[in-house]
């Protein structure tokens, strides 16, 4: 029974629970049993709150039976990336410096899911402070790709993606600053979506690159993604960068129809560095959409080569400032032996932060420093505006842009951190989407010869999630079953 339950998508489970065929506690026990079995191998979670989840599942079940809880995810167990505040539950950002941090409030997106009836299982592993592409910079151990445990799950939402792939949850939340939802979704063969900047409140998301961060769903299919986004999207007065979105009824766009849809494929995305197997799988997916009536055409996006330096300059600059609050004074890690205030700051932060985080803080401080600000940071902001302009021009001609999510499938564990710049270059296809604030989705479209998943990326114009979801849904329907690890 338990294994059977795990096959359901989040929406299917919600329907079963509503119909009384499965109970919330049953669904939770199925997941907890799976975690018991697989966690020592995959290590998707930093914290599993079995006790809290059990209490909540019981409570939710009672409310469902009483008819007082009718939310779309009533009774469905969910995993939350560990950079989103969960009241009363350890929130570490996979860093030592927050190893003892218990937030006093939950992130807005988390609250919305709980109001919709979801049951919080625990907090998933990630790259430390969301800085990384493999989940290997976590201070709490690596997460393994359920498709092949010698490989990474991707990052920084590696734990969330792996948990969905391994049935250690029914769906998860991740965050995406440069591709951190879409890339692990691609590596783990699940669906991951980053909404338009401003769509989902950032209140309670521990900030990395404030002008780029967005929370989004990682799910088993496009329908689940649309339904999750529908719950978590919406204006939040506590977030000044939050937008009043007109129509958040994304599930209405789960329509199998792309007739006449204009799809543009950037030539610049298919040049050197792209693995031929990935290239084939993605171009094949484009053919599937063409066969369903879409008009598919190549074009030149331009400025692609500036995206990575632009991103790393801006994200690191913002991060260097956002992470200043971790100083051993108010919360989190403080070094044991120190003499004086500034030595205490230095030691706590040196000991509490990992290498990649320190690297980016230094990079960010440098590009903001007097004498370099204009040449680096200001220049990067201008490039950002030009990248947005390039996309605006593209979307004047096309409804959706199609391309790969990453140049390769999941690399082997232990191979990426030695050459950070090389690792950064892997973000080439996802990063511009954050710089332009656009919505993007990764849908599994193939496997390489090792059986590792390949993701198809669809990018929409800002606030055009509806078009994006329709295109993704249509592709998924046509593709058929993808399979699980």
């Amino acid at each position: 029974m338990k294994k059977e339950i795990l096959q359901y998508t989040a929406l299917e489970l919600a329907a079963k629970i509503k119909a009384g065929e499965v109970t919330a506690p049953e669904a939770l026990e199925a997941v907890l049993a799976q975690i018991e079995e697989k966690e020592k191998e995959y290590h998707c979670y930093v914290t599993v709150d079995a006790e809290g989840a059990r209490a909540r599942a019981k409570e939710v079940q009672a409310q469902i039976e009483a008819g007082t809880l009718t939310g779309p995810f009533a009774g469905v167990p969910v995993a939350i990336k560990d950079n989103m505040n969960t009241q009363g539950i350890l929130t570490t950002c996979s860093s030592k410096i927050l190893g003892n941090f218990i937030p006093t409030f939950s992130a807005e997106a988390v609250k919305k899911l709980e109001e919709a009836g979801a049951v919080l299982i625990g907090k998933t592993n990630m790259d430390e402070f969301a800085m990384g592409s493999t989940t290997e910079t976590s201070a709490y151990g690596v997460t393994k790709n359920p498709w092949n445990t010698a490989h990474v799950p991707g990052g920084s939402s590696g734990g969330s993606a792996a948990a969905v792939a391994a049935d250690e949850c029914f769906f998860a939340l991740g965050s995406d600053t440069g591709g951190s939802i879409r890339q692990p979704a691609s590596f783990c063969g699940v669906v991951g979506m980053k909404p338009t900047y401003g769509t989902v409140s950032r209140y309670g998301l521990i900030a990395y690159g404030s002008s780029l961060d967005q929370i989004g769903p990682l799910c088993k299919n496009v329908s689940d993604c649309a339904a999750v986004l529908e719950v978590i999207a919406g204006h939040d007065p506590k977030d000044s960068t939050s937008v009043e979105v007109e129509n958040t009824r994304y599930t209405e766009s789960l329509v199998d129809d792309v007739k006449g849809l204009k799809i543009g494929i950037p030539r610049d995305y298919f040049g050197e560095g792209l693995d031929p197997q990935v290239k084939d799988a993605v171009l094949q997916a484009a053919q599937v959409l063409r066969a369903k009536g879409a008009i598919v055409e190549e074009f030149d996006l331009s400025l692609v080569k500036y995206a990575i330096p632009c991103y790393y300059t801006i994200a690191a600059a913002e991060a260097s400032s956002n992470l200043e609050r971790f100083d051993g004074i108010k919360y989190g890690y403080r070094t044991k032996d120190y003499e004086g205030l500034h030595p205490m700051y230095k030691k706590s932060r040196s000991e509490g932060f990992g290498a990649e985080v320190k690297r980016r803080i230094m990079l960010g401080s440098f590009v903001l420093s007097s004498g370099y600000y204009d040449a680096y940071y200001l220049k990067a902001l201008k490039v950002k505006a030009l990248i947005k302009k390039a996309f605006d021009e593209a979307f004047a001609k096309y409804d959706v842009i199609l391309g790969p999510v990453a140049p390769t499938t999941a690399p082997e564990l232990g191979k990426s951190l030695a050459d950070p710049i090389q690792m950064y270059l892997g973000d080439i296809y996802t990063i511009s989407v954050n710089l332009a604030g656009l919505p993007g989705i990764s849908v599994p479209c193939g496997k390489d010869e090792k059986g590792l998943p390949i993701g198809l990326q669809l990018i929409g114009d800002c606030f055009k999630e509806h078009t994006l979801i329709r295109a993704a849904y249509t592709y998924e329907q046509a593709r058929g079953e993808f399979g699980t690890p």
């Binding site: 989103m84 505040n85 929130t91 950002c93 927050l98 941090f101 937030p103 006093t104 409030f105 992130a107 950032r202 209140y203 309670g204 998301l205 521990i206 900030a207 404030s210 002008s211 007065p237 506590k238 977030d239 000044s240 960068t241 600059a317 913002e318 260097s320 400032s321 200043e324 609050r325 971790f326 100083d327 004074i329 108010k330 919360y331 205030l341 500034h342 700051y345 401080s365 903001l368 420093s369 007097s370 600000y373 940071y377």
Partner: protein, 476 residues
């Protein structure tokens, strides 16, 4: 001194705005309270918190800018000023550097040589830091974040001032404008107005500026005056000895009458300012400007000129009455009801100010209404109560805003004007005090004073002393 030196002074003035809540969150700005009781995740910099701008802060900043002849920046941003210190919960302060809300203004001050314009370089909005309390016994420092996030505007002047007097005049002018706008109560002693003095000296006639120092911890006009004079001398002494003035921040100690260089860590600071990505740009529309402009009150200078024309009261009175907008409003509103500007002025200048001082209150705290003050004046006009009683009624009115007519009724304080009863009482007093009567008849004028006193006592104060005096003289 062989050379003549000119002092060049610029001021950075921080003003705490009188909003109910903080600049980026809904916490109370109320002074006092248990440490860390007016706090929330935003103003203590918890992970995941985000700032949201309090619109009133923007409105106050624009109002002050308009009143000081500034250009209002139509597209401005907040910038983060990054530095590590425990009173700064996020280790960055949200301020404005690149696009401050107001620029290129001026205020006019009166000097011995006539009117002078002191330029205002810019005005910007920023958040205040928390308070550090050093516990000597435990050798620890405690942090109170109640003040963290309280809204400030910083007013940066051009280096246009040349003496302590000009500095005081400038500060008084700023204070008057800001108080009149209701933007802040501007109390140096309480910290709602803080002034840092930037001072350098140069030989008279020189074109270039000398090296300047910054002085902090100036908690009164007196301290500012002493600090300016002291620093001028210190710098001149250095230059006369052939030494250079070091650019540094100095802390003024008013009790010792000298300044100390603060730890120079501050000087090498690179704050890495950049626009805060959590806040959207501030766009000021024509409508908003027009609305704020429309709400500008009549400032003191115009008011004083108008009072001189409209009301027949001495210049000295006008000066006192217009010192605060609250007092001026009270004056105008009371005169509108009962006329009699001189009488209204007397009540405000004498009794009101006396009681304010006594009770350690500010003009903003006055409780009684113009209607009630007018009522009191009417009672004295009608001679329904005498001046002593009037003072008593006024004090009651001052404390509780009681209706004076009602109060007089309830306490039976009406002057007895019944001449018959009065005559009776006087005759009794005469009978009871034969010695005084004789003294008076023998030429001692002062004895009548005693008899008046006795009569007043017998009448329980409810007689008009002048009338009593007259009647006594008649009967004697």
């Amino acid at each position: 001194m062989s050379k003549q030196y000119e002092t060049v002074i610029g001021l950075e003035v921080h003003v705490e705005l009188a909003t109910k809540t903080k600049i980026f969150c809904g916490c109370s700005t109320q002074f006092g309270g248990e440490p860390n009781s007016h706090t929330c995740p935003v103003c203590i910099g918890m992970p995941g918190s985000l700032p949201v701008l309090n619109k009133q802060v923007l409105e106050h900043a624009i109002a002050v800018g308009l009143a000081t002849n500034c250009d209002i920046t139509r597209y401005s941003k907040f910038d983060r000023k990054n530095y590590f210190y425990p009173d700064n919960p996020q280790n960055y302060q949200i301020s404005q550097l690149y696009l401050p809300i107001c620029r290129n203004g001026y205020v006019e001050i009166e000097t011995e040589d006539g009117k002078k314009k002191i330029g205002i370089h810019e005005i910007h909005m920023e958040e205040d830091a928390g308070k550090l309390i050093h516990d000597e016994w435990e050798d620890t420092t405690l942090v109170d974040y109640n003040r963290s996030g309280v809204p400030l505007i910083e007013i940066v002047s051009e280096p246009d001032m040349r003496s302590a007097d000009e500095v005081i005049a400038y500060l008084e002018k700023l204070r008057m404008i800001i108080q009149y706008l209701g933007a802040s109560d501007c109390k140096l002693q309480e910290g709602s107005m803080r002034a840092d003095v930037n001072l350098s000296v140069r030989e008279q006639g020189a074109e270039a500026f000398g090296t300047r120092t910054e002085m902090k911890n100036l908690n009164s006009f007196r301290a500012i005056q002493h600090a300016i004079e002291g620093e001028r001398e210190r710098q001149i002494d250095l230059l006369e000895e052939g030494k250079a003035v070091v650019q540094e921040t100095r802390r003024w100690d008013d009790t010792k009458g000298c300044s100390y260089a603060m730890r120079s860590k501050e000087d090498a600071q690179d704050y890495r300012y950049f626009p805060d990505p959590d806040l959207t740009p501030i766009v000021v529309s024509e409508e908003m400007l027009a609305e704020i402009r429309g709400r500008q009150p009549e400032f003191r200078t115009e008011k004083m000129a108008r009072y001189k024309e409209e009301y027949d009261i001495p210049d000295y009175d006008i000066q006192i009455l217009t010192e605060t907008k609250h007092m001026a409003d009270l004056f105008e509103q009371t005169v509108a009801i009962c006329g009699q500007p001189k009488k209204v002025s007397n009540w405000l200048m004498v009794e009101t100010l006396r009681l304010l001082k006594d009770r350690n209150m500010d003009p903003e705290d006055i409780r009684f209404s113009p209607e009630h003050l007018a009522g009191l004046i009417a009672l004295t006009d009608q001679k329904a109560i005498n001046s002593t009683v009037a003072k008593e009624v006024f004090e009651a009115m001052f404390d509780t805003d009681v209706d004076p007519v009602q109060y007089v009724e309830e306490h039976g304080l009406k002057t007895v004007n019944d001449t018959g009863a009065l005559k009776q009482t006087i005759e009794q007093v005469i009978a009871q005090n034969p010695q005084s009567v004789e003294d008076y008849r023998n030429g001692k004028e002062k004895a009548i004073g005693f008899l008046v006193g006795q009569t007043m006592k017998a009448m329980k104060g409810k007689a008009d002393p002048a009338t009593v005096n007259q009647m006594l003289k008649e009967l004697l």
